[in-house]
Symmetry: C2
DNA sequence: AATAGTTTTGCAAATGTTTTCATTTTTCTC
DNA sequence: GAGAAAAATGAAAACATTTGCAAAACTATT
């Protein structure tokens, strides 16, 4: 009641109240050095009085950047991505962008739809997770000449610049570690490999390291299980039930490894005395496990930051970063693995 | 080269190619029933040929909704919020909105800035986490008549509608459970209560339940520790080192409870035989712990969905949902708590 | 106090849509 | 096949800004 028109204030209202033209108000936002200090004062006070808030939509149609970056993820609520989302979003915010977030639940055609939606919103760039995307999605981004980047995994041959780790290397590191500890009775607990490029490349890496060292994983010890602690736990109980049990279990990721550790604990088997266990990912929590989990760290924070820098470079100065950056994974040895007896 | 003008296609280009007026193209998007099927065909083919993508920014300046909802969180990368973000975003996506996400790292003035930014982007609504926000933030939202909602906790007296659980009730449930099991030597491991409304209300609830049952927590057993598994673990080692140790430990959240469990495991104390342990939150993983963690579930999924429904109601039909919805927390008894000996 | 140079400001066009209203085209009825 | 009614389309104004250009207002110089 007391003065401020409750109707939405626009730049014209501000101009009127400050007794200047709209152009001057606009300039005072975008090129403050071009307007006299005293006029700027008047304008600022009018802005405050009216509670005016700039309309980015109106700017955007002038070809001005929207200041948003679309981030399209499979899902948010897995530790694996939450960390990445956090660091990426923090890093782009620092550069003045805001994240437009959408999740597709591992459905590639939904991912395409969401990409379209991002383009409708005129995001300045798009970030996708992983290397596998629908043909249409790539086409769309190319055709619209939209700066885009792939997060989490890196491959030189990807169709877009990618920032992340190499899953095969991650698998190789773990495979080599376990084999070098002298284990020969090795089992693998992985998510379904089919259609999961992440998991299957890790597995390939493990196999490569083992083969080089003259080991192999017998078919019966190659376990596939959904991405969940509880099913990994259940599978583990099956795995160790036979008296002919492995003395090392290599897991496709930390979540599965947690499940395996619980399964072993329940069976009163000691880790690492009876069985060595390894994960991949170094999720929050793995460090504090009892025993601490030997794993490979995929440095989510570094990836998020590197990617943020890369894409804002692409946006602000059309600098294409070649085919991205390889952020090396790192073996982290903790208490859950020990030399074979 | 082969036909498609690489310059950004607008609605006018489409109209020209389809030999109709821009109005008709616009109509064919927004009121397809008003345009003849054959013209629609022509238009669709022109759209495809040019790779035209609608410009929501241009629509938005007509007062049309932007189709975005601002979600401002303290941080993404804690299990606690990731689940909530996922369910909220999924639920609003289902209603045609996209999430504009920003994180402030528990900095309330940064939260205010982010809220402003959301308003600049002309989001259709804003969702904040928790009940505690800067005065300015509330003012801003009110003054701009922006539909807004608070997630995670509910209070009838909050300045905005809130959807979530009541932390005091959550604490009460756990306190009652532990006391009713017959425990009298009870310790509490909580995050710093000062300036943390969530934690302190939970603690109040615990105290209330205990007092009603004639118990109390001695000062020396009231432990404050940062939100992290490792520090809870360290604190636990201190706590049980004295030979006069508690036989039940009530934790302010599941993450701390995990730390406590690890600490006890390391000390070779058996849960629940030697000590009962409880959490609050029922985070992913608590179910599969060895032993399973007794806790109070704050149903993130329900909260996200309820909140999504509430805010889209506020947006699409100006229905204000009173002061929100209380989503009741639920005691979940698992193996980590047992009757006192 | 006139001139030239510089700094500030305003006018008007442009941006990519939607929408109201008027006009044209089609369909129906007899 | 004329007239009325209904359906489909187009013209133009509106939306909230930015920006190129020209005009106006200052400053400095003589």
């Amino acid at each position: 009641m007391s003065g401020l028109k409750s109707k939405k204030a626009d730049i014209i209202a501000v101009a009127k109240l400050a007794r200047v033209s709209p152009s001057t108000v606009s300039r005072s936002f975008n090129h403050p050095d071009l307007v006299k200090a005293t006029t700027r004062k008047k304008i600022d006070s009018a802005i405050r009085k009216l509670g005016y808030i700039r309309n980015r939509a109106a700017q955007t149609i002038h070809g001005i950047r929207s200041g948003t970056i679309g981030l399209i993820v499979p899902t948010v609520d897995q530790t694996i991505f939450a960390e990445l989302i956090q660091s990426f979003s923090e890093a782009v915010e620092k550069r003045g962008f805001t994240i437009l977030l959408a999740s597709h639940g591992y459905n590639l055609s939904r991912e395409y739809e969401l990409t379209r939606k991002m383009l409708e919103h005129r995001v300045d760039g798009v970030a996708l997770i992983g290397l596998e995307h629908a043909h249409d999605t790539y086409e769309l981004l190319e055709q619209q000449a939209m700066p885009a980047i792939l997060l989490w995994n890196h491959s030189d041959t990807a169709r877009l610049p990618s920032v992340g780790s190499d899953n095969e290397t991650a698998g190789y590191l773990i495979g080599a570690h376990v084999a070098d500890l002298g284990h020969r009775r090795i089992a693998a607990v992985f998510p379904p490999l089919d259609g999961n490029e992440r998991a299957s490349m890790r597995f390939d890496g493990v196999l490569k390291a083992l083969t080089e060292r003259g080991c192999e994983i017998p078919q019966k010890w190659q376990v596939e299980t959904p991405y969940s602690v509880s099913s990994a736990k259940a599978e583990t109980e099956r795995l160790i039930n036979s008296e002919d049990r492995p003395d090392a279990i290599i897991c496709g990721n930390d979540v599965l490894a947690w499940g395996v550790l619980y399964g072993l604990a329940k069976a009163r088997l000691s880790v690492p005395d009876d069985v060595s266990v390894t994960g991949i990912g170094d999720f929050k929590g793995s460090k504090d496990f009892e025993p601490g989990l030997t794993t490979v760290r995929i440095p989510a924070k570094t990836i998020g930051e590197t990617a943020a820098e890369a894409i804002s470079g692409m946006i602000t100065s059309n600098v294409t970063t070649g085919n991205g950056t390889m952020v090396p994974p790192e073996l982290i040895v903790r208490a859950s693995s020990a030399p074979a007896r």
